[in-house]
């Protein structure tokens, strides 16, 4: 079906496309190892976050915590803010985003275009500064409501009820699912669904490894583990640095014609690792991974051209995932 009553009804149902050129070749007679990309950039605002944003708002409405005209406050560095801004606009809420100033210019323009208001926290202060800014804002506006994507079960449920079933329907022979680890909602929801339905499926996380300036932590006790995170859902977890993420993002567009953001490159890097292991072991594999968003919002970083060193430098201190 390609006709919908409204934009929100067009959420999800994204294409799953094979990557015949990036999939590793196997020796004659050996079982096939195939890579499949789920194109989440085909969602209403162009990222996988539309699913979580819609679910979180709808559930807050249904449980009576959100009323028309309310202001939603959400600390976010990008796609969740854009997705929430669209949902808020269509459902009649005001959205205020608190975000660090070192995110790409496109994200800021998009947020404003969708009608969100932005309060910046200085990049130099890292997470501590983001905390201070958000606290100050919340103290001044105690009536603003936060959906808290890191601990909101509706975030993971969106993927349990939509992303997971879509993958299983399109690829019943799936052996691996690879996605980015941020709020952990995509991996927890999709992972739980697939583990219930597919024997032996491997759920694999790819997390971005930023330069330390980005973290700005002063103490090892200041780490953050989202409440949604349940390590038992995962089988493996890879840390992917900027250089590998950029390399794979470029390969996606050069080899398969898929123009994606850098977090998708990081995810592909982990997907290729498990695909090559399967080839080595002589095992059949259908590895599905997430294209979290398109590359449009990151063009201004300049990291799509020039040498890998240039790209790494361009992304230094940026939140690219």
């Amino acid at each position: 079906m390609a006709r919908y009553e409204s934009l929100l009804d067009a959420l999800g149902g994204t294409p799953l496309v094979g990557l015949p050129r990036l999939s590793p070749s196997v020796p004659e007679g050996a079982p096939a190892v195939r890579l499949w990309a789920k194109l989440e950039d085909r969602n209403p605002t162009g990222s996988i976050k539309d699913r979580a944003a819609f679910y979180m708002v709808r559930e807050a409405e249904e449980s009576g915590h959100l009323h028309p005209g309310d202001t939603i406050l959400e600390p976010t560095s990008g796609n969740t803010g854009i997705a929430l801004a669209m949902v808020a606009k269509l459902r009649g809420y005001r959205l205020v985003c608190v975000m660090p100033e070192n995110v790409s210019a496109e994200r800021i323009q998009l947020l404003r275009m969708y009608g969100a208001e932005i309060l910046f926290s200085p990049a130099a202060g890292g997470s501590n500064q983001a905390v201070a800014t958000a606290k100050q804002v919340a103290a001044e506006h105690p009536d603003w409501k936060m959906l808290y994507q890191y601990g909101n079960p509706a975030n993971a449920r969106a993927h349990f009820e939509t992303t997971g079933p879509e993958l299983l329907q399109d690829l019943p022979t799936i052996t691996h699912f690879v996605a980015g680890l941020g709020t952990t909602g995509t991996l927890m929801g999709t992972g739980r669904f697939l583990k219930e339905k597919v024997d032996g499926i491997q759920i694999i996380a790819a997390e971005p490894r930023y330069g330390e300036l980005v973290y700005g932590l002063r103490n090892i006790d200041e780490g953050y583990v989202p409440e949604l995170y349940d390590a038992s859902v995962l089988d493996r977890r890879f840390s992917v640095g900027t250089r590998d993420a950029v390399l794979r993002t470029r390969q996606l567009v050069e080899v398969e014609g898929i123009f994606a953001g850098f977090s998708s490159g990081a995810i592909l890097h982990a997907a290729l690792a498990v695909a090559h292991e399967a080839v080595k072991a002589g095992r059949r594999a259908d590895v599905a991974f997430v294209i979290a968003d398109g590359g449009w919002k990151y063009l201004s970083t300049g990291a799509y051209g020039g040498t890998l060193n240039d790209a790494e430098e361009a992304l230094e201190g940026q939140l690219w995932a």
Binding site: Y55, M56, R58, E59, A60, E62, S63, H65, L66, I72, E74, P75, T76, S77, V98, P100, S121, G126, S127, A130, V131, T133, A134, A138, P142, D143, W144, K145, M146, L147, Y148, Q149, Y150, G151, P153, A154, R157, G182, T183, A205, E207, R209, E212, Y215, I220, D221, G223, Y224, V225, P226, A231, L234, R236, R237, F238, S239, G241, S263, L319, A321
Partner: protein, 117 residues
Amino acid sequence: MAIEVRVPTILRSYTGGAKTVEGAGETLTALIDDLDAKHKGLKGRLITPEGGLHRFVNIYVNDEDVRFLGALDAKLSDGDSITILPAVAGGALGFAAAAALLGRPSKHLAAAVSTKG
């Protein structure tokens, strides 16, 4: 047997400011003991008094999280690269801010968060 270990800024006070150090050991436990012998106090920042990996510390062997490779019993080989990092979510800044807000005694925020469908 030489294993390169990348140390995060917040732990470099134990390594004399060194960004990478070398260690040896056939398991992660052995490696951490070896490191602690050379850099006194480092072990206490990585391992809890109960003997587990600290909740806010992530250790990666060749870019893979050791918690999925046997944790402290993970087998190591000559030439492996180890990275120690603080545990931080992908969208760390937003998360830090959001988590701090939840610590506030505000029933409005708590109400929005306790959403159940």
